[in-house]
């Protein structure tokens, strides 16, 4: 009893010691040191600055305001009032926009007129032109995201802009249409149609409105992806008695098999050099990622190899626009997760867990769009913040951003 009391007194005395002394604990009692810096890098400000000068004309004031909003939203520039690297001036009358972009040294980079029916449409085009001229990277104000929704009762293809606005239903097929992809210039959509009751790949020209069937082969055909040149499609066809990845030339209507598998290949995606294709293939151990080289000529040799990711059950890979990273879906304990890994080798990071599916890169490589629990998200890879850009469309699946 006395011993317990003595211990209690010692403990109370130790507790009432000043903090400075309390830090002199024996080594075995010390807490592990916390890392000095957080693993997240601070967000850098854009290096280039732009000044939006006066816009004359009837709709000049609103044009200037909208352009400022677009440029702020792009996060490519710092907007200043003096000492900027670039200067934008112009005029706007009745929705038409005339604009001039100058460098700080006075060199005029472009002077253009935008005469589309809507003021907002013109300013998005202008904003993308400014970003492209100043940074060399494509803007995404005019880019489109294509996706599948079963809002109408069957799966149909829809298209929206990068903010989830301006949603349009593209297909109205009785048995549905799935697996869409946009051509690099955004003028055409390739998708799998169940119009005849069997899966067939079709290409729809959004500008002219015509539609044509690319593959009406027996078996299934799906998973089309436009090549960077927009003239070829990579897709899965099974008429040879096994599903394989084919590259088909849209001009000559010929197809060549580039995979050599006895498994279940899916989701081909092109490297921006147009010479490699990454796809998921299940050869009996769950889907893993493979790289196939596209032979330049008929008799050229091409390699096909497994790309080790360190994750299991990898599907839906897509190369980043610069070809230095691959985003894909891997299976983890709490469901599907989106992983971004350096290509051909390097570090990998999990971007989103908890059932996120089907990642697709923005044209500038800064954002990823994906679906999670039926909603469409855009994820900023620089800040780690994400936005649900589209909900209320029943279950959204298979989003793909214009490349």
């Amino acid at each position: 009893m006395t011993c317990t009391r003595l211990l209690l007194i010692v403990f109370t005395v130790w507790l009432t010691q000043p903090v400075a002394q309390a830090l002199d604990l024996p080594a075995w009692l010390r807490l592990p040191k916390l890392p000095q810096s957080s693993s997240k890098e601070p967000v850098k400000l854009p290096s280039k600055s732009v000044r939006v000068g006066d816009f004359t004309g009837g709709t000049g004031t609103s044009a200037r305001r909208s352009l400022l909003a677009e440029l702020t939203d792009s996060r490519e520039f710092t907007l200043t009032d003096s000492g900027a690297d670039f200067l934008v001036t112009g005029s706007s009358t009745g929705g038409r926009v005339m604009a001039k972009l100058e460098r700080a040294d006075g060199k005029v980079l472009f002077e253009r007129t935008y005469a589309a029916p809507g003021l907002d449409e013109n300013l998005r085009a202008l904003s993308d032109d400014i970003i492209f001229s100043a940074t060399g990277k494509p803007g995404q104000a005019t880019s489109r995201i294509v996706f599948v929704s079963n809002k109408s009762g069957t799966k149909q293809v829809y298209v929206c802009d990068s903010h989830g606005r301006d949603v349009q239903q593209v297909t109205h097929h009785t048995h549905g249409a799935v697996s869409p992809t946009l051509s690099p210039d955004g003028s055409a959509i390739a998708y799998t149609s169940y119009r005849s009751g069997f899966p067939v790949v079709q290409v729809l020209d959004l500008g002219l409105g015509w539609e044509r069937t690319v593959t009406d082969t027996p078996g299934s055909s799906f998973g089309a992806a436009f090549a960077p040149d927009g003239q070829r499609l990579a897709l899965v066809m099974s008429f040879i008695g096994n599903p394989e990845i084919f590259v088909t030339d849209l001009a000559s209507n010929t197809a060549a098999c580039i995979s050599d598998t006895v498994g279940a290949p899916s989701s081909p995606s092109w490297h921006p050099d147009g010479k490699q294709i990454i796809f998921a293939d299940d050869r009996g151990q769950g889907p893993r990622l493979y790289i196939a080289e596209v032979p330049a000529t008929n008799n050229a040799e091409a390699r096909l190899y497994l790309w080790r990711t360190g994750y299991s059950f990898c599907t839906d890979p897509e190369f980043s626009p610069d070809g230095k990273q691959v985003a894909f879906v891997a299976r983890q304990s709490d469901g599907a997760a989106i992983v971004v890994k350096d290509y051909p080798s390097g570090k990998s990071s999990v971007v989103q867990t908890g059932g996120a599916q089907h990642p697709s890169w923005s044209p500038n490589g800064r954002y990823l769009c994906y679906t999670q629990h039926g909603a469409l998200y855009v994820h900023d890879l620089h800040t780690g913040l994400r936005n649900a850009i589209l909900g209320g469309y029943s279950t959204i699946s298979e989003p793909r951003w214009m490349r």
Binding site: S238, G241, A264, S266, D282, G284
Partner: protein, 148 residues
Amino acid sequence: MTFLKSLSLAALVALSACSTLPQEDADVVFALGPRDGFTSPLNGALKPVCPALEFTGTRYALTGAHQKTLLGVAEAWKEGKPRYLIAGYAPPELPEDFARSLSERRAQAVRQHLIENGIEAAQLQTVGFGHDSPPSSPTSSVVVIYRQ
């Protein structure tokens, strides 16, 4: 001498075993013929010829139970020689494109086995719906053989 005898006997046994090695024919993959005239289950109610073949996980190899069912299908085919459409389906939790490929692969595995059991390749077509349209069976990870 006894050693030589036993050696020659062993060699004989080994050589005779050669003739029973698996034939290369088993690896032949039969390309699909034209699809003209085949009806999709999406366009009308088709009658399944046997209970739906259920698969587990992401497997596409046929089990003993599948092979037993398919043997019965191949026997029944010989009367009348009808055309069959083999349709694969996959559960909704799989990624969309992978589900289409896996369901097609399963349908092709069933087709291959039916051909090996005597059904003419031209009478068989496959299709993989993934989880774009639900099957008529209560479970979704199945292959259904429809009579045309």
